[in-house]
């Protein structure tokens, strides 16, 4: 654990995340037969938002969003990027699971004080979606932890480096597939873009955010993308020994996510939950049973 890594890791996640936001807009534009914005557009947007004079609805409104990104930064510190893993040995996957809570919780509290029903509906949808995918995610992570007999994520990566990727290990194939199926829900892209749903509830929790708050929410979104995908890469695609290779893997998974985003409509909340409790949960459950039996 170096102090330099503690600074480097969130910075890297931020840069990659913002780059991904730009890239996703570009790729989406190309699927739409458009030219698309410059890849730096999210940066410009964020600068613009920082310069705007927004409104604040109270102290919790300010603090919640800060808390949310702080949570994201904390998660980033626990996830290994290649060989950079500043804090990964202070509680393992269980801590990651719990700290991943802070980001949505912060947003939920912050936008709750905004007193707008749209944001409340957005939060309720977000929490329900979380409940939906968490069902499978927990089974998947438990299968991993039972298989590798450790709760440390660095150790799981190290074991994969020695042998094969988790995705290609017999007992973990089904959980791997389940993870791929719930990945859009974790990233919050369509068909699971239900918590923002601009056409239904005016971008949900972000409805009252403007200026700095919106910028912070955007940054939080960037972090969330990187966290969601790099967890998958670390757990199932063997992580990586160096940074470039790691982010290449992350990029590939992300592009897959964008394609899914492009060709599906948004589901209703109820349907999303039903789907998440269905096939992915079943696969993950079967995977866990197999893992325990072997």
């Amino acid at each position: 654990m170096h102090i330099s890594e503690i600074i480097l890791s969130p910075l890297l996640a931020l840069i990659v995340g913002v780059f991904f936001l730009g890239l996703s807009r570009k790729i989406m534009a190309r699927i739409h037969w458009r030219y698309g914005p410059p890849i730096t557009q999210p940066v410009i947007d964020i600068i613009r938002m920082f310069s705007q004079k927004s409104v604040s609805h109270g102290n919790l409104f300010n603090f919640g969003i800060i808390f949310s990104i702080a949570g994201s930064i904390a998660v980033v510190l626990f996830i290994p990027f290649g060989r950079i893993h500043p804090l990964s040995n202070s509680g393992g996957l269980l801590v990651i699971l719990y700290i991943m809570l802070l980001a949505p919780l912060g947003i939920a509290l912050s936008s709750g004080e905004a007193a707008n029903p749209n944001s409340s509906i957005g939060i309720s949808r977000k929490l329900l979606l979380t409940l939906g995918y968490e069902f499978s995610l927990l089974l998947i992570l438990l299968a991993l932890m039972t298989h590798y007999r450790t709760i440390s994520i660095t150790e799981i990566v190290a074991l994969q480096q020695k042998g094969s990727w988790s995705l290609f290990r017999l007992p973990l194939v089904l959980p791997g597939i389940a993870y791929i199926l719930i990945l859009p829900a974790i990233l919050g892209v369509r068909p699971f873009e239900i918590s923002k749903a601009p056409q239904e509830i005016s971008s949900g929790p972000m409805v009252e955010y403007g200026g700095t708050y919106l910028a912070l929410a955007k940054i939080e979104h960037a972090f969330a993308i990187v966290i969601g995908i790099s967890l998958f890469v670390n757990l199932f695609l063997g992580g990586a020994n160096n940074l470039a290779f790691f982010f290449l893997k992350v990029l590939l998974v992300f592009i897959l996510g964008i394609f899914i985003n492009a060709v599906f409509p948004r589901l209703r909340t109820e349907q999303a939950i039903k789907y998440l409790f269905g096939i992915p949960a079943f696969l993950a459950f079967l995977g866990l049973v197999i893992t325990v039996l072997i």
Binding site: H32, W33, P198, S203, F264, P265, R266, R268, E270, Q271
Partner: protein, 366 residues
């Protein structure tokens, strides 16, 4: 405090047009929906009384921005009926082709709006692009993209330019060639079906009672189309069919729109083939500043892309209409039907249902 009053519009991404629905919701279920129109009221019918018969043309087309052509047509038809003007044969054909093009453009706009409501950006972009190709045709023909003012009493303003028919055919082939793409990404998409099936259900009796017209009533299985019942322009000259569906839900309405679009494209091909090559396109009318129309009243109707469009017009023998009243499809769709079928649906489906009924706000308010 059981109820939440949620405003859906006017400033809302899920609202196409300046219209507002106040939703009383419990959880995410709508208990009561109240349409709140009036944001676009300009007093059309009053303004028309202050303008001469020909001056009214630029005005009436602005009643419906999505598809102004049918409003032009119906006003022309009203004037023709009052003044007893006949439309030459070629004019009738050109009117039909033009109106069907407008119908396709309008349905593509509807597809944009609908897919946008579902968060389906990709199809929305494609549909809007294809609509633009048709608008290009209009621009070449009339000089304007949106408000063409092409139809006039006694026919149309000018003949097709040279080779325009080929351009129409080419454009429609481009669009028609993408129909399989639309089908595979949109209409046959499993999630699309999940989102639309059983949503906004309307059975035939209720639909009739509440004044549903156009694709909304055709999606309940009723073959009701003014073009068949009371043919105008050149619709009785070619063979064509009225597409219907049984379901009565948003899904059936969408598929009806798609089938109608395909039917229109086929109809345009047939019309172009059958269109007389020579002849005038309009009958001469008197000097518009001095044009007086004999006393009398007339009710005319036509089938716009959203359904039956009617006009009751009264002349007192003067230079200006004495009274004009439009019966627009969005009025019954947007106020009566929408309010009735929204109750019991999800918040998530409001825009979805509204666009499946194809409510265009300016038509309601006028």
């Amino acid at each position: 405090m059981r109820e939440l009053e949620l405003y859906y519009g006017p400033q809302h991404l899920g609202m196409v047009g300046n219209f507002s629905i106040t939703l009383n919701v419990e959880g995410d279920r709508i208990k009561k929906a109240t349409a709140n129109p009036g944001y676009l009221h300009r007093g059309f019918e009053k303004l028309m009384e202050c303008r001469t018969w020909m001056q009214n043309f630029p005005l009436v087309c602005r009643i419906n921005v999505v598809e102004p052509d049918h409003i032009e047509l119906i006003y022309s038809m009203g004037v023709e009926k009052l003044a007893g003007i006949e439309v030459p044969e070629k004019g009738k054909y050109i009117r039909s082709i033009y109106l069907e093009l407008a119908r396709v453009a309008s349905h593509l706009f509807g597809l944009w709006a609908y897919s946008n409501m579902l968060g389906f950006d990709t199809v929305a972009n494609w549909a809007m692009y294809h609509r633009d190709l048709i608008l290009d045709l209009f621009e070449e023909l009339t000089g304007a993209r949106v408000y063409h003012i092409y139809i006039r009493p006694g026919g149309v303003r000018r003949d097709f330019p040279d080779g325009f028919e080929d351009k129409i055919i080419e454009t429609l082939h481009t669009i028609g060639g993408k129909i399989p793409d639309y089908n595979s990404t949109f209409f046959d998409n499993r999630l699309f079906k999940k989102r639309t099936k059983g949503i906004g259900k309307l059975d035939r009796e209720n639909a009739k009672k509440m004044g549903a017209v156009g694709h909304a009533i055709r999606a309940t299985g009723m073959k009701y189309d003014i073009r068949k019942i009371e043919p105008y322009a050149a619709y009785d000259q070619v063979e064509w069919d009225v597409p219907t569906r049984k379901g009565g839900d948003a899904y059936s309405r969408l598929l009806t729109i798609r089938d109608e679009m395909i039917e229109s494209v086929h109809m345009i091909f047939k019309l172009i083939n059958k269109m007389p090559k020579k002849g005038t396109v309009y009958t001469k009318t008197p000097n518009p500043f001095k044009w007086k129309i004999p006393e009398g009243d007339a009710y005319v109707r036509c089938e716009s892309s959203r359904g039956e469009l009617g006009l009751y017009i009264v002349s007192d023998g003067g230079k200006k209409p004495y009274r004009a009243h439009f019966r627009t499809p969005s009025y019954s769709h947007g106020l009566t039907i929408l309010e009735n079928i929204l109750a019991g649906e999800d918040i998530a489906d409001v825009g979805n249902i509204m666009m499946s009924l194809y409510v265009v706000a300016p038509e309601i308010d006028r």
